[in-house]
Subunit: 266 residues, 2 copies
């Protein structure tokens, strides 16, 4: 509904006001609430989300929205160059921070996409920047096929990880990671999520890690995140194999120009 980091800041003000009020019951209630929502356990003051032409919108905006719930955390977009960056459908978002300007992030998030994401796994300047940021980050994360890019840096070597279900095992093994078919996986400082919408669940898990469960519940209430998909589905395990195979073949078709022939055979 609105920026909870503002709201939760207001909350602190409010608690102070309550302490001055004579409404004893309310005072106790808020004092208890404040006690539950104590100081962050992990300091995440900056979150940079890497955008590039062809990124998948919700891969980036899901974590943007959820992590913006963290009070005192600045969540912003970073791209190779400042200016308008296009999503897969051509919608342009204004990015005010270039990669060259960012020397440190508490948390880096790499969203996925499709063809352009695959091409990013070959982009040395991007891979080097990710490696540089990762040296001092508290968390380094990917959403969906963003794990292909993170994998290509070598940082997932020997780590457990997940990614969008399409060629998940193959792509992660290629980079020395162990694929775990989970909604999200944390291995040390590395967080990876399954496809698109899983980035939100992963980000909520980060919120819990940083601020604790009572805070998470307030954030989820702000986002009214009590999902009710119209039907059961959304993962390979609960979708009919015919649909899974059709989608897999369509993705293959979409990548036919960029993926090496031997990889297509697998």
């Amino acid at each position: 509904m609105k920026l909870a980091f503002f709201c939760l800041f207001v909350c602190l003000l409010y608690a102070t006001a309550c302490n001055r009020s004579d409404q004893t019951e309310q005072k106790h209630s808020h004092a208890a609430m404040m006690k539950k929502m104590d100081e962050p356990k992990v300091s995440i003051q900056t979150v940079g989300i890497l955008l590039y032409d062809g990124y998948n919108t919700l891969d980036a905006v899901g974590p943007y929205q959820v992590l913006s719930e963290l009070m005192g955390t600045r969540v912003f977009f970073v791209a190779k160059q400042k200016g308008l960056v296009r999503n897969q459908g051509g919608v342009q978002i204004q990015v005010d921070t270039s990669m060259a300007e960012v020397k440190h992030l508490d948390m880096l998030v790499i969203p996925g996409g499709f063809k352009e994401t695959y091409l990013m796994t070959k982009d040395t300047s991007v891979l080097n920047w990710i490696r540089r940021i990762d040296r001092t980050s508290t968390y380094t994360a990917s959403v969906c096929t963003g794990a292909w890019v993170l994998g290509a840096t070598g940082l997932l070597q020997g780590k457990k990880a997940t990614t969008h279900w399409y060629r998940a095992k193959e792509m992660l093994e290629k980079y020395g990671a162990d694929f775990e078919p989970k909604r999200w996986v944390r291995d040390g400082k590395y967080w990876t999520s399954a496809g698109v919408t899983a980035g939100m669940d992963m980000s909520l898990a980060v919120v819990r890690e940083v601020r604790g469960e009572p805070y998470l519940k307030a954030a989820m209430l702000d986002l009214e995140y009590d999902p009710q998909p119209p039907v059961v589905g959304g993962s390979v395990a609960n979708t009919d194999p015919e649909t899974v195979e059709m989608m897999r073949q369509m993705y293959d078709f979409g990548l036919r120009d960029v993926m090496p022939a031997e990889q297509k055979q697998k």
Copy 2:
């Protein structure tokens, strides 16, 4: 992961290719798939999402992403003026279509926000434009507090509807609508959803309505939408009353400058 409307278009090409191939089994599988994913039952060729400074990002981008799964549907943003529109956190998105340019939409989506959304309920030019579009739309929809704006047009009079949980009953009754505390509500051509993330569930229900359940399952697999929130929560019914009350009071505090005093007392 990627634009399914592209993928599903490719699917048609693929099915044609299969018909020419000698892989009988695959041919049958795809023919069956194609049969399941038949022609749209409802023609939704244009979806306009109304942006305004202060809109809540995911309220707009959730439906954008989900409805973009509809093959042959153009999903775009509309604002009072073309140019950069700011979300609640200051992130700017480029809007290429002004309200004045749009005379008809098959589907209109009104995202919510907070203070600016409340102020929009008083903006006659916006309300008149919504009423005009609604005259020929197939579906008119709101997400989160977007229902406050839709309600202010008078179009929800006598309708069942939902909105973000904060002052939900009060705000909908003010506009003559019956609040139903559901994830999303459809009453004739009007679709309304609960807060923020509920816009995605509502949009998936629209996808099912337009293209049927097998298509919906393919779209959900593309989005890997099999949500797994880290904890139970996200709605008033499954969150402790203390947290609900704290959030409610914070929202009140945030609206103190714009909401009339008598309304604040309720």
